[in-house]
Amino acid sequence: MEYIPHTPEDQRQMMESVDIRSIDDLFTDIPEKYRLKSLLNLPSALSEQDVSALMKGIGSQNKLPSITLMGAGVYHHYIPAVVGHVISRSEFYTAYTPYQAEISQGILQAIYEYQTMIAKLTGMQVANASMYDGASAMAEAVVLAAKTLNRTKIVVVRSIHPEYRQVVGTYAWSNGYEVVEIPYEKSGRLNRDALLQAVDDRTAAVLIQSPNFFGIVEDIASIESDVHAKGALLVSGFTEATSLGILKPAGAMGADFVVGEGQAFGNPMNYGGPYLGIFASTDKFLRKIPGRLAGATVDREGKRGFVLTLQTREQHIRRERATSNICSNEALCALAAAVYLVCLGKNLKNLAELNFQKAHYLKENLSGLKGWELVFSAPIYNEFVMRCPDPKTVNQKLQDEGVIGGYELGKEYPELKECLLFCATEMLTKDDIDRVVSIIMGS
């Protein structure tokens, strides 16, 4: 199947008007010996019907679980029908970045509204149009902090998502920053003493996550003033965006940047992407933050309209002196998030509470199993860590019943090798949870 409208007669006429005899005459700038003489070694073209069958066949080699107990950075939530309908409008999904504002008012206004909602939820004054994902948003906050303060030390709490720490590590390595890791304490919260010891006047940024990778809600207010006393910037991350429905936002507790993953807001799990990186900051960084910003202004007749603004921060103008190299972001995912938030409205709080309830029911039930114990004592949102005999066998048993089990923490935390990280969202019913417990018990 080709998507080319040219008839042979069209092509003949066009070749005549550009004065060529063969199409290959257009490719003579390619040195002769490099011009391909044969077709690429790829499978032959398919009709739409055939390609549809092929793709369904590939899809069918995936197995969808009946129950998912996996969170660990990506969350299974219900997506209201309106979200899919809005982002399927091809005026949105087939447009490029809104460089021509007069014919892009739709997405510009939608992004402006998205930025507003994100700023409110994170307790910040400013949010951008999105980053690639939560991890790269965190890494870009690090780069911005280091450049702003002209410092090169980054303090990272070990209870941040391992993959986020790895991404921060990659960006730090490429920029020559030093990364210092701080342990968590017995309760599952960050070790405040170790953190305060590590932060010094070379520290550009302190990175934390709440709820952290173990699902635990950090007490951000308890470290904020100490971080700032050393002149460092506080970057607070999150992976489970629905937690913003009940938790006091980091922005209201003194964080300089709130960064995180917005997938939970109306975006499917998609085997890892696309998602959207949320990036919010205080007013102070408005002219420095990476990424696109939609801003309100007026047209020649004084009518309200929206444009991409403060573009002198960006690579296409400032080139090597730009804040970041980011160009494309995740606009359509941000649109999905915006629609999701409008749809939920104040119910976001009720949804978050429901997640909290389900997770606590699962936690209570698993804690009651013989040989199982809850590892951390600090309060959780919708994820928690259990120590159990032989986690691999537990997961295998669940898999055999079509259930995706918990995240095996031993891979990234040798000290937690007998531990599983579980997640419960509103998608789990009481029956599901009871079934999980009985599968584990039945040995």
Binding site: V51, E91, H161, P274, R300, H316
Partner: protein, 481 residues
């Protein structure tokens, strides 16, 4: 148009949350009050309000499905609908990235094969699919080069970038800690070979070259360029943003490129979604494979799985494996077109660009009068001189005629640049009508320059005040409903 916040009314809602079926635990009993928020300040609207709001917004937005979109360097080709349908299959969308390999054989296989197809199309040893967009791919590619030198115990200080390059190139280089040094273009629009030779030293990590370049011209001296860069053990990096020009015609790997990043949302027709999601796979030659991001999909006796054991890797550039759902669309596209279809896509893209170039040549100054690849670049300097009409005015006038304008003021080495990329999916009639409009605007510029300068007249808003937007930034609504 009203903001969604202005449409909000207390007590209205667009959803109900299911009732809890588990014993209640009070949040307050478990969490300290100072960890909890008081209110969620989000709009309150009914479902019908929501749908009408976004439908109205969509009508104020221009996509490829609305009309011709010759935005140079962005490859705004038609996006086949089957790709969208396939990407929405629950087997692809509803799987958790940490699903065990047992559950994800389809997704793993798709990524494994996509890597193979891309390697074949571009003549590279292997590809990594993790980067989320083109610029992210650039950054990853430069990190891979940096890692290579580090492993060799070498430190190189700078990277060369032609003056015609996309802004992302110098920004990506800088984000990797490299100083960027600019190479001049020659009179033909290619790399100034003497200047390159002068700048290329043992301290140069490599050259980031867009080929065809941002003037839409293929680098004729590519062999010499590769030779000069490789003579100092540097790497030749290809910005593959313009890959739609040569699929099935030539392969960057054969031409001497060591690294390439692609933009699946351009060349492989996964739609751009108003600014993403994209996908920016990075391909490399044999020497650099071990430095690609982790994890890597591997196939062990017909079972696909993730391999995390890659000690020489740069690490991760984002969480998980990349924009998988975009890859599904690109994979579908490659399988639909096949080798002959991909080749023909490039051939017709190039024919269309040359057709437009020839038709408009008498009316606008061509930056470089030679055969172009998939896009052609004009300068509006004649219009400025004759009637004071600028390229931005011409672009805004195109809006009145129902077109998305070309890319303007880029590349920066062409004054008043107008960069037109028609793409293979546009018919002769569409191109003729567009060219007629461009010619009509050239006449208007002479006869009635005020009309062109006051455009657009028919859009939902008139020209917007960018200066006010930047001087008095308002990026979050602070109004009271």
């Amino acid at each position: 148009m009203e903001l969604i916040f202005e449409k909000s009314r207390p007590g209205r809602g667009a959803t109900t949350i299911p009732r809890s079926d588990v014993p209640e635990v009070s949040v307050g009993s478990i969490m300290d009050k100072n960890l909890l928020r008081e209110d969620v300040d989000l709009p309150e609207v009914a479902e019908v309000d929501l749908i009408r709001h976004y439908t109205q917004l969509s009508k104020r937005n221009f996509g490829v499905d609305v009309g011709f979109y010759p935005l140079g360097s962005c490859t705004m080709k038609y996006n086949p609908k089957i790709n969208e349908d396939v990407a929405k299959l629950p087997e692809f969308t509803a799987l958790h990235p940490y699903a065990p390999a047992d559950f994800s054989q389809g997704s793993l296989q798709l990524m494994y094969k996509l890597r193979q197809y891309l390697s074949e199309i571009f003549g590279m040893a292997d590809f990594a699919l993790q980067p989320a967009a083109g610029a992210h791919g650039e950054l990853t590619g430069i990190m891979v080069i940096k890692k290579f030198f580090e492993k060799k115990g070498e430190r190189r200080s700078h990277i060369l970038i032609p003056d015609a390059a996309h802004g992302t190139n110098p920004a990506s280089g800088a984000l990797c800690g490299y100083r960027t040094v600019t190479v001049r273009s020659n009179r033909e629009g290619g790399v100034d070979i003497d200047h390159l030779r002068e700048l290329m030293t043992d301290d140069t990590a490599g050259l980031m070259l867009t080929n065809p370049n941002t003037l839409g011209l293929f680098e004729r001296n590519i062999e010499q360029v590769a030779e000069i860069v490789h003579a100092k053990d540097g790497f030749l990096y290809c910005d593959g943003a313009n890959a739609n020009a040569f699929m099935g015609k030539a392969r960057p790997g054969d031409l001497g490129f060591d690294v390439i990043q692609l933009n699946l949302h351009k060349t492989f027709s996964t739609p751009h979604g108003c600014g993403g999601p994209g996908s920016g796979p990075v391909g490399v030659g044999e020497k650099l494979v071990s430095h690609l991001p982790i994890p890597r999909v591997v196939k062990r006796e017909d079972i696909y799985d993730w391999d995390y054991n890659c000690p020489d890797s740069i690490g991760r550039v984002r969480a998980f494996y990349g924009n998988f759902n975009v890859m599904v669309k690109a994979y579908t596209y490659i399988r639909s077109l096949g080798p002959d279809g991909l080749k023909r896509a490039s051939e017709i893209a190039v024919l269309n660009a040359n057709y437009v170039k020839e038709k408009l040549k008498p009316y606008y100054d061509l930056a470089y009068d030679r055969v172009c690849m998939h896009e052609c670049v004009f300068s509006g300097r004649r219009q400025v001189k004759e009637s004071g009409v600028h390229t931005s005015d011409i672009a805004k006038r195109l809006l009145d005629y129902g077109y998305h304008p070309p890319t303007i003021y880029f590349p920066m080495i062409v004054p008043e640049a107008i960069m037109i990329e028609p793409n293979e999916t546009e018919s002769k009639e569409t191109l003729d009508a567009f060219c007629d409009t461009m010619i009509a605007i050239a006449h208007e510029a002479k006869g009635n320059p005020d009309l062109v300068r006051s455009a657009p007249l028919t859009t939902p808003v008139r020209r917007l005040d960018d200066v006010k937007a930047a001087r008095e930034p308002d990026v979050c609504w602070k109004g009271i409903r």
